[in-house]
Symmetry: D2
Subunit: 227 residues, 4 copies
């Protein structure tokens, strides 16, 4: 099968990585595909415009995932409405550091506020999917109950797609690795701050954390397995 | 004061980042400066040769840290001697992925084995320093007791130095951020897999996680504070 | 001030326990006062009938807490609607063990299901209160984000009230203790399985975990502090 | 098989509790059988004299456990030598509360100090056993790496023995339950503060957390399973 190691396509042995490739013990974890990152308006509180073109391909990929019976979990940042776990507590670091690079983010205080339109999903969430709504910072794992959920479902491999390859996706990949999950990141279904940091984050995954693959290739490998 | 944002030196307001700069609530966390990464022999189990030239400057920096009364914590990977938490449990991902880039690592099974010479410190550890010996994967936080220790010491800012900017240092920076610590990474006192991933990891820190500074500049800022 | 040590009222020094008594760094954590435990109907999924008479005194106590500006957090068990984190995952142990004592619980599968009436609060929750909705098993701490929230609010003392002194309250008290919070359990505002286990759980708290007090006495001590 | 429910011996179906009874996915976790609790001298820093008579039967039981190939993990409290994670950090609550019941404990500051004789094991630890040395408070789980170790070993059931039924054993049982392990506590191989709290803690386990069994009965059930 094909995977990418430090940006280079490589042919890897499916036998050697068999523990990564069992759909029955795998969950796809889709990260932060909500209006707060993707909305095309000036008051989008934490804009990730490069991820907007992921919506359609993610919906298509997730349909294939559901059809194969692979578990699908949507994770989104949500913050208590009164700000107790962020701007009226200990504010997240990105609120001061990211504007040093991209300039002021006028509506950042509205980011991820529970019950606001900024937490609305932009990819499709279906009744059989699972949701994790207590991502509070960058990782999908802490302080959410994602690890608890994965263990209850006896998941051993997580496949990551969604937003900010070099931030929330990478933080989640590190956490998944530290918790001993097998990690696959889908290079065509994640987007980073820019091309350079996106490529670097994927290289880090490929060297230290797991496999970087195209979604089509993963579907092909899953499809050819005996059922 | 000077910090680096996406590789560029920038002048930032000390007032705006005052919560990062209080030595009384800060701990320096030095990561994996042990023989298993730094030994200059063919059987070094997880070679990080670029980090070898950090030993002398880290010892000098840590002396200044101690002199200022800032807490100093040395963290090292350690694995149970019979392999129960890695090669005879669920093996760490890097054992298969890193060789795809650097080639075979003949003695990798000996990495971090408790009681072996591969866990010997190469930087100086003094009686008043603290140690964390239960780093088992990449992050200094999980499954160690580092967070527990920091909270007991009422630490609010962590300053990271040591080994693999794009791996253990970055994983630790993400975890520290997710746990609401203020994060500073010292760009002259960390080393990555290569120049490119090292620079990219520091850029990610500067955009999403905290401040990237030179150690000399941090000492200067600490030194000018009233005591 | 008066506290109870192994069921005996004792006069303790407020000075010696000053770190327990600062309202500014305290949160009251109210546990599982929802219809799934308190409903007076045969299909109540996890009946805790002894706790029903707590509703009125808890509402009154919480009004005093709000008036003093002390933070108030309501925690409730909630399980994903499709059962992925319990009956269609790894089922909670109480589902098999508790009926050995109380007999069959016909509607237990409906316990805490998200969106059902069994998660409706029976005590009053006001807009300025905080809520934690990801208690999945016994402790209010794991796998919820309670610890994350408390740290953001710089809470150092937790005051526990609510349901099952010898089960969820005690599990939460152990976790709070292990996370280094100062713990107070309000003996008049918790209820256990029966008198005997309730008294034993409070004795364990008083010996190993913190202070057991009457709510009126705690209000008196808080009230006499200078503001 | 026989188990105890609220102090009463009961005949339970092995089929119904089959997930508790598989030696291949079980670990025995032995808690705090060290000199700091068991030493018969006036300067014992945290005396648990009732547990002293457990040493011989525990050694005998553990020999049977090893012979059956069941994993065995010894956990002990250990605190950094300079006190940073307890008396010179945020002191453990028991230091003030337990003396309210038992009177002053003159040498309590020496409890569990790393490298001191108070951390010496009193039960036998053999080379094939596993050890967890970062228990810092009451639970064997937090902030240690016990959960990480159990997951690496694909353990699903924990069998608890050792010291303070109503304190560290019960805290560990709650944590194991919250982390979805099947829990067995061996009533003949644990000791509590006194008969009353010991019995109450076992009753709580039996109602909310798992099975309370005699060690001989568990060995009998394990022994009759096909291999």
């Amino acid at each position: 099968m094909q995977a990418y190691v430090y940006e280079q396509p490589r042919e890897l042995s499916e036998t050697e990585f068999a523990d990564y490739l069992n759909p029955a013990t795998t969950a796809v974890v889709s990260i932060d595909m909500h209006r707060g990152h993707l909305d095309d308006s000036p008051d989008c509180p934490c804009p990730a415009p490069r991820a907007r073109d992921l919506v359609a391909p993610l919906d298509a990929f997730h349909d294939r995932v559901r059809a194969l019976g692979v578990r699908l979990i949507h994770v989104r940042s949500t913050l208590r409405a009164n700000g107790e776990d962020d701007i009226r507590g200990i504010p997240a670091a990105w609120r001061r550091t990211f504007p040093l690079h991209v300039g002021p983010i006028p509506n950042a205080d509205a980011h991820a506020i529970e019950g606001s339109r900024w937490t609305e999903w932009r990819t499709r969430v279906e009744p059989g999917d699972m949701r994790v709504d207590t991502k509070r910072r960058l990782s999908a794992f802490y302080p959410s109950d994602l690890d608890f959920l994965l263990r209850n479902q006896r998941i051993e491999t997580v496949v990551l797609d969604g937003g900010f390859t070099d931030c929330c996706v990478l933080s989640t990949a590190f956490d998944a690795n530290n918790h001993n999950y097998r990690v696959i990141v889908l290079r065509d279904l994640v987007r980073g701050t820019d091309d350079k940091l996106e490529a670097a984050a994927l290289s880090m995954v490929s060297l230290h954390l797991g496999l970087v693959m195209e979604s089509g290739e993963l579907l092909r490998v899953w499809g050819q397995r005996p059922h």
